[in-house]
Symmetry: C2
Subunit: 266 residues, 2 copies
């Protein structure tokens, strides 16, 4: 389901060919009911995922500002047991982080086996905002696509499952959400005037995203382009991909420790 939203390696990607407002014929009430069911499945799957301790799950969320990263975490990942799930929000790097290679802080944050880690922004900013704002020479960011692919391949070979979601909103939808934020006393504090400078470079960002989605879609860690103008459809696509991925692992509870079956409690 929604299989064509997950990219295949080697395919040319142009975001303008993907409709951010698409809902694949779903109705809101059905999608919300389905999300509830998926959240219940996620809870069950997470229990055996944690118990088996065989894989780690790394979920990467990328989007333009107001693209719905926080909302996805709240409405989709809110279904996970917090004991086995952590969210890491990558901000502008600190001086210490900048004195290391760009993957250093990312590697430290990779979840251990049995756990789910959610990256709210990620190492992909190092080929997105860093590229658009010319924060490093072109030669440096161009080399990063391969470095990222190699890094993610190593993770994958070590049982870290990497799911990457680009939450795709239209420029018009961003404007609507910015206006909502400005009108809401509980949200206006979040508004950073710098977000408008990024908005002015929308075209440059889409071009940078085209390259990310194309060059960093590998067999081991493909990107999923999530139509994200409609929030309930965005949640449905993300939840379904997570559930299908973990379900396919067909994990089992581990056997008891030796001798445990004969224990009697007194």
């Amino acid at each position: 389901m929604f299989k064509h939203l997950t990219l295949s390696p080697g395919v040319n990607v142009k975001l303008k060919d993907f409709d951010p407002g698409d809902t694949h014929g779903w109705e809101e009430a059905d999608a919300k009911r389905e999300l509830e069911e998926l959240r219940e499945k996620m809870e069950k799957l997470q229990d055996v995922f944690y118990a088996s301790g065989k894989y780690a799950l790394l979920i990467v969320l990328q989007a333009m500002d107001a693209g719905g990263k926080d909302g996805t975490v709240k409405h989709v990942m809110g279904g996970f047991n917090p004991s086995g799930c952590s969210v890491i929000s990558f901000k502008a790097p600190s001086p210490e982080e900048l004195s290391h290679d760009f993957l250093w802080r990312v590697h430290k944050a990779v979840p251990p086996r049995g756990h789910i880690g959610i990256f709210n922004r990620s190492h992909y900013e190092d080929v997105l905002v860093v590229r658009v704002l010319n924060l490093v020479p072109e030669k440096v960011w161009r080399e990063r696509y391969d470095q990222i692919n190699t890094f993610e391949k190593m993770l994958c070979e070590n049982n870290v499952i990497v799911l990457k979601f680009f939450l795709h909103i239209s420029k018009k939808e961003q404007a609507d959400r910015f206006r909502d934020r400005l009108a809401d006393p509980k949200k206006i504090w979040k508004f950073n005037p710098g977000d408008l400078e990024m908005r002015e470079k929308w075209g440059d960002f889409m071009e940078a995203y085209d390259d990310v989605l194309e060059r960093c879609t590998t067999a081991h860690a493909p990107w999923t382009i999530v139509p994200a103008d409609v929030k309930w459809f965005r949640n449905l696509v993300v939840a379904r991909r997570i559930v299908e991925t973990v379900d396919a692992l067909d994990l089992k509870y581990p056997p008891p420790a030796p001798g445990v079956e004969k224990i009697e409690i007194v």
Copy 2:
């Protein structure tokens, strides 16, 4: 509400005076409805807690094995938005951790302002299991009560709110839960034969807890003794104390950044 379960500094504590099966006259259905309401309040309070960025909240959970730490995280803290909430489970210390003072790994894990951190076990194990199993000389663990109090005072003075819960179950309830684990294929893998050795030292642990609860109940970070034989009552007590604590802060959303109110989105 449940105020007498939160200890006062200087009061003599004997756990045998507290009934682990107490439900203060509550009925299950009422308690569960109340928990749902508290979870909704927690969600709202967490939003402004995060936005204001003024305080951090550190929740310490201690209990005997099968005391309900994991269940409390799932059923109470599951109401938090995962973006601003992390759970840290302290296991037996690693060689690196052991080569530092006992508070080193704990300090690193303290949540930043705006965030909620949940300690599943904590620095208190260094005056509990460490004491009962004689892992360090008595002189060393005896000095730790004051070290802990001083550390927590510093946190408090730096806007870290510390809520400490002892989930108090009876020895009989532990036996029932151990038997349930042994009978459930989804839970038997968790059973560690070492847990039985701890159970044999129940009396020593209760004595060590009496000392922890008495010596480390300070004005800035008192302990709450949670009657925990009845899971729905345990959840209610913990949720209510969290909600009452955060509610009393009377936090406000921060004002918008300068100039933001005049912005028009084009």
